[in-house]
Amino acid sequence: MTVAAIKEYIAVPRDRVENFHGKQLVYVSWDHHLLFASPFLLCLPPETPFRELVSGPLGMLLQPDPDAAAIDWQRVEWLKSNQPWTPDFDASLAANGIGHKDQLRFRTPGLNSLMAA
């Protein structure tokens, strides 16, 4: 049973992609960089080139971290749905297979100014 109910009960998901007027949600987070308290929620059209996500909203949001300027985007390690993954910077979010409410993570080994114990 997918819900305790007195009869068959089918629900409608509240955050379906149709509700976002042509955009979708993407979550992005930078592993081991917890100055940012939670993964970022971005709302973008699926046609957005991946490069624009990185240089635009993501790049702006990362600025307060002391490691931000030192990120070498060519060497960043990516994860999608917690699995290793390689993005095509010139392709769109959709062409990269980034779905609505997907979680992207990236790692920058060696950069850890605020985490150095």
């Binding site: 509240r14 308290a37 939670s38 909203p57 307060p64 605020l114």
Partner: protein
């Protein structure tokens, strides 16, 4: 009426019998299943409702008398507080942030509990639980009212109190407590009783009320102390009811055990997430602190909770499945929450701030294994940004957990340097969670949680469509007054000016 009236004044035993058990009757026009349609679908088996032991032999007439007396005392003190400028006797106006969160998120929870108990009082066939639930329903609405009345005096002087009802419905952080109560109210009557009557009232309420009321006393807030005292004897009754309920259900049929255990697992974790905000209040928001969150957890969680589950072991009940993950989070959660509240303070109807050096030293003393290692470097960097005139504001908004609706501020149980990422796909739709506990709850009843109204994704849908200014209007948040850093706020300026009038000759 063919009842024989033998004596003018009834003995306690007769009165109790007549005014509780005797109020029930055997239906003859409709079947019991028609009258009580929600008794079977949860799988709980009750064979004999008369086995219910009333934990307090209170009848409605006596209840009414006691409550009226408490109300008279309460309002007398609240009047005195207002007349004696009680709003100036606080240690510091930073304290009010804890109160604002309470008014926006927890007092509406009292009202939700009122609705829940009124409903289950109707659903249960037994007269004993019907009367007990009715009394608790009246208690809960009284608590909501006394809290609102007690705090309304602060609304005359300080920001952030004026729109708690709108904020209960619309602002992001209150959806945590709201979804908690909505989840319980949309469950069956037995689950509601285990959720609110047992898990919340019995297992977790001390972690909320004891530190909160002591915090109020330590910080000169007589209004809150007064509603705390006025609610105290009610709370004792609620705890007794919660324990009676679980024992009654478990004694009625051995098949009830796995169902009840599943609910305890679920509601412990949901309650632990809701009460997480209390950790921040205790460690950061009280200018004069009572004890650390860690110390409170050791007393009310480990000691008291441990003893309770030892007692319940004879029924086969085990400690909740999230217990170990909770223990691992204790030394981290208050810092993780406060760092989040600070960077998102443009969107909160209360103030947050960077802890002073003295506060950070206190935190390092209370959290010797975590604060200096993980959290002080972040606060120092945030302080540096503020001193440079570029205070840290995180406009990225947050990924919310599909179940508890909190921003995913929590780290892996065994790695405090890495955010906890959990996700699942249900009917082709992706869902994100803050923890194994929340993912597990979702996967037990996905059809329920896919409907969650998550405030952050909602901000990008109708009617707001991503406009932060429109959002502020919609949640009745006055930008530059209710929100932001305490340093430089109107609350700070006013408190210092008014207190100055009382203590200096300026």
């Amino acid at each position: 009426m063919d009842m024989k009236v033998a004596k003018k004044k009834l003995g306690l035993k007769d009165k109790y019998k007549l005014m509780t058990r005797d109020l029930g009757w055997e239906p003859s026009y409709h079947s019991k299943d028609e009258l009580y349609p929600y008794m079977n679908y949860e799988g709980i088996k009750i064979h004999d409702w008369d086995k219910w032991e009333d934990p307090f032999r209170l009848t409605m007439d006596a209840y009414w008398k006691y409550q009226a007396e408490k109300e008279r005392k309460f309002y007398a003190i609240i009047d005195a507080h207002a007349q004696n400028n009680g709003h100036l006797n606080l240690t510091d106006a930073r304290y009010l942030s804890a109160l604002k969160i309470f008014l926006q998120a927890i007092s509406p929870g009292e009202y939700a509990a009122h609705r829940g108990f009124a409903r289950v009082g109707r659903e249960f066939p037994g007269v004993g639980p019907q009367v007990a639930c009715q009394m608790q329903a009246i208690d809960e609405i009284r608590h909501a009212q006394t809290q609102i009345h007690a705090m309304s005096n602060y609304n005359r002087y300080y920001n952030g109190f004026h729109a708690f009802a709108d904020q209960r419905d619309r602002i992001w952080y209150t959806s945590v407590a709201r979804s908690f109560f909505d989840d319980s109210m949309s469950a069956g009557p037995f689950e509601f009783m285990i959720a609110i009557g047992f898990s919340f009232e019995y297992v977790l309420t001390n972690l909320l009320f004891v530190p909160f009321m002591s915090g109020a006393a330590y910080n000169g807030d007589m209004a809150t102390v007064t509603f705390g005292f006025s609610a105290q004897s009610d709370e004792a009754r609620h705890m007794t009811l919660g324990l009676e309920v679980i024992k009654f259900i478990l004694e009625q049929d051995p098949d009830n055990l796995p169902i009840v255990q599943n609910w305890i697992d679920k509601w412990f974790w949901r309650g632990f997430r809701v009460l997480g905000l209390v950790s921040t209040m205790m460690d950061y928001m009280l200018p004069k602190r009572v004890m650390s969150w860690r110390e409170a957890w050791d007393i009310y969680g480990v000691e008291n909770g441990g003893a309770l589950f030892k007692d319940l072991a004879r029924y086969g009940i085990k400690p909740p499945r999230g217990w170990d993950d909770a223990e691992k989070a204790i030394d981290h959660m208050s810092h993780q929450f406060m760092l989040g509240l600070y960077q998102w303070s443009f969107g909160t109807a209360f103030h947050s701030w960077i802890p002073s050096d003295a506060d950070m030293d206190w935190l390092a003393g209370k959290y010797p294994h975590t604060f200096d290692k993980y959290y002080r470097p972040r606060w120092k960097h945030i302080k540096k940004l503020a001193d440079a005139g570029t205070p840290f504001k995180n406009y990225g908004l947050a990924r919310l957990c599909q179940t508890c609706q909190l921003p995913s501020v929590f780290t892996e149980p065994d790695d405090p340097t890495l955010t906890c990422h959990r996700e699942t796909v249900y009917k082709g739709e992706k869902y994100q969670f803050c923890s194994d506990g929340c993912q597990h709850i979702f996967e037990n009843e996905p059809e329920k949680y896919i409907q969650a109204w998550l405030p952050m994704p909602q901000l990008f849908q109708d009617p707001i469509n991503g406009d932060l200014g429109e959002w502020m209007k919609w949640v009745s948040l006055l930008d530059g007054k209710d929100n932001g850093d305490y340093a430089g706020s109107e609350d700070q300026k006013n408190f210092e000016a008014w207190r100055g009038l009382a203590t200096t000759n300026q």
